[in-house]
Symmetry: C2
């Protein structure tokens, strides 16, 4: 990972961490390897992508495949009854890397989960507000959060007369509706999944419910879609509560109620969501998650209701990198001033100036040569986006004078040696204003 890429990542991590903390979440870390048996039979088909460690004696270990299973293992093992945590870490897959598609063998995941027995829809609302806060703050562009409920999907499949055991198969077809027309999905449902025309007609009515949250809920009610269906009616009430909370938090405008959102994962038991970018068609989902009340119990035998989401941090990195490239402002370092000298034996003077600047918290560098050449100094500053150059000249030193060149405004400042720190602080302050005006 090159320094410029790292700089972008670190900035994104800082924003994300600060928002998680703003919402009272704590951060945990788990080891990169889990016992092999912990991961076994958690990922179905994809288990072949797990990296095993060589048996060199001792326990059989494997590299973590995601952050969810280690989280469930962590909560179960420590016997926690509640936790609100985030975890930003790398996971590992024995996949063929496809850089252009953003698929790597080692990549970051960023998960946030709230586990514990709580008031209905309260943590769910907080989860969504956190995700929306992060996506709004990190600058990936416009987005919408599609929302649905596992019990709506159950009710839909039930009311369409489909067999319960086909739940996963049907959902995986319906979930394609963001990319494919209904006719294609219908074909798949009939030819591949064995549904009847009648079933498909019924499903088609359901999946058309998508749009503004309150409007959709009202339509579901006036259309009497779930009339007499206990679970369906209950779920409408749950969603009303959730929308009320989201409205109180002033984030409901980011939500789209979408019956065609059918995340296939078996373990979801309540709300499911997916955040998608709307001002680009390049990447789809950048965050997804939902309520999974049964997962932790797989490890401890004791169920702890949980709701959580994952942020597609690698996709966000890609977007931020492209944006930075387009704006031409990728910097690997944050140096504010380059200290140089003109004349012989001034290296100690340069170091003294650097040290004074560092002590004041100013980011400063000097070239690691005895007598820096002017051309090399300027090209180093330009190449690295350093806005200021402090010039220590032989004659100026005699008169107790320092000079600062501000490259981005083509200005020169002169001041007394002892004013170095306050003057540079002042120039930086005004200079920053100029820089942000430029944008």
């Amino acid at each position: 990972m090159s320094p410029t890429k790292m700089a972008i990542r670190e900035k994104a991590f800082t924003i994300i961490r600060s928002i998680f903390k703003k919402h009272g979440a704590s951060e945990i870390d788990t080891p990169v390897f889990e016992l092999k048996e912990t991961l076994t039979s958690k990922y179905g088909e994809d288990s072949k992508l797990i990296y095993d460690l060589k048996d060199q004696g001792g326990e059989l270990l494997a590299l973590r495949y995601d952050l969810t299973v280690p989280f469930a293992r962590y909560v179960a093992q420590r016997g926690l009854s509640s936790i609100k945590r985030f975890h930003i870490a790398k996971v590992y897959r024995r996949d063929t890397p496809q850089m252009n598609k953003g698929r790597f063998r080692e990549f970051y995941q960023c998960d946030f989960d709230i586990a514990g027995s709580y008031g209905l829809m309260i943590p769910d609302a907080d989860l969504l507000s956190v995700i929306i806060d992060i996506l709004s703050s990190i600058g990936v562009g416009e987005f919408v959060v599609k929302l649905n409920h596992r019990k709506f999907l159950d009710a839909m499949i039930n009311l369409a007369g489909c067999e319960k055991r086909k739940f996963k198969a049907i959902c995986s077809s319906i979930d394609k509706l963001d990319k494919e027309p209904w006719s294609a999905v219908r074909d798949e449902l009939i030819n591949m999944k064995g549904l009847t025309n009648l079933m498909c007609d019924k499903l088609e009515k359901f999946v058309q419910y998508k749009g503004s949250p309150w409007e959709m809920l009202n339509r579901l009610k006036t259309d009497k879609v779930f009339e007499g269906h206990e679970q369906g009616m209950e779920t409408i009430k749950e969603m009303e509560l959730l929308f009320t909370y989201l409205e109180s938090m002033k984030v409901l405008d980011k939500i789209s109620f979408d019956f065609s959102l059918a995340r296939g994962l078996d373990y979801y038991t309540g709300v499911i969501y997916e955040a998608v970018l709307t001002d680009t068609d390049r990447v789809g989902s950048i965050s997804g998650g939902g309520r999974y009340d049964g997962l932790i119990g797989m490890f401890s035998g004791k169920n702890i209701p949980s709701v959580g989401g994952s942020i597609g941090i690698e996709r966000i990195f890609n977007i931020l990198e492209e944006k930075a490239k387009a704006e031409g402002v990728i910097r690997a370092t944050e140096t504010q001033i380059l200290v140089t000298s003109m004349g012989k034996n001034l290296t100690p003077k340069r170091m003294e100036a650097c040290a004074d600047l560092w002590r004041a918290g100013i980011k400063a560098e000097t070239l690691y040569v005895e007598n820096p050449r002017t051309d090399k100094t300027f090209s180093y500053a330009f190449d690295n986006g350093i806005p200021l150059i402090l010039i220590i000249g032989e004659n100026e030193i005699k008169n107790g004078i320092y000079k600062v060149k501000a490259l981005n405004e083509n200005k020169e400042y002169e001041f007394k040696v002892e004013e170095l720190v306050p003057k540079v602080q002042e120039i930086l302050k005004n200079n920053q204003v100029l820089l942000s005006k430029d944008k």
Copy 2:
């Protein structure tokens, strides 16, 4: 890793990163696994501690054992001619974990290296200033940086009449002088390493040179220790230059010139240093490093002079944890205000207040229950070190009033609902002043 431990680590990382950046360093990352062949024959005896991945087809991989070899591989592979980088990441060792001694199978390393052909002692001086800046800022207590030079050690062994091939063996004995008396080291040199009494007498004179940098250099000169020994005389000049630079940067007072510092690693070619805590005898070295001009060439065939150091970040974590425990201020979260309600159906109001606070950057939480009990609210705030509680009461809402209880000063504030954000900001500002006065 528990949330409180993580919180301490993240704080340390933030300080360390900001100082590296202040000195113009960039950050890189390398994959957690390297090709097995890259690690082979780099660690001698310790190679048995390398974690290999299972051969599941494809390349043979192993988990990184340190950050130095991946760095050398990175520089060589990318054909870089210079880089000033830091890297904070975990490394892996098939060791028996000994928690009480701070030995784990997975632990952080924090490395800083400057590679490139530069002016004599200039990057070396900057390296030391960075290390001193970090150790001073991170609050681990008093420390001293012991300094020596590989060429002094070579000259010492040469002048004592010892065989060159015994360099490593002799150094490893001498390096024990910080824990053992000379008599014990002498015994070892004679009985285990086959040195004569005369050789030991000569070595004994050398290792007594330790103390204030300029004083020691002057003693070396007046005692004519290296008279007629070209390499020794040259090295005195190099050290003079280094001390001049360190003095310019006002960090020379942290340095102790120490002839008995004999870091055994074969690859050092110039300055070697080790930072040790002085106000505790619990942990010894918390940072070490030096110049290694030949290492990168092992990978590329093209030598790039380098100087670097490693910060014992796990030891620093332990010290910071103990300090925080002693001060009773370990917090897993940073929540500033807990929003609670008294009365029925006020959950949306609580959420609205949270959202307003979040939007203003204030760290706020609310309990995830419909009707929070007062005792539970207060104990949650106390347990998590949250200084303020916002109370939304039924009657107060009617009068457009909010109340804030400041737990750490036992005060209550009342203000209009619409003044929420500015009032909380004001209370937090004054509250922080109070908190820091307490210390």
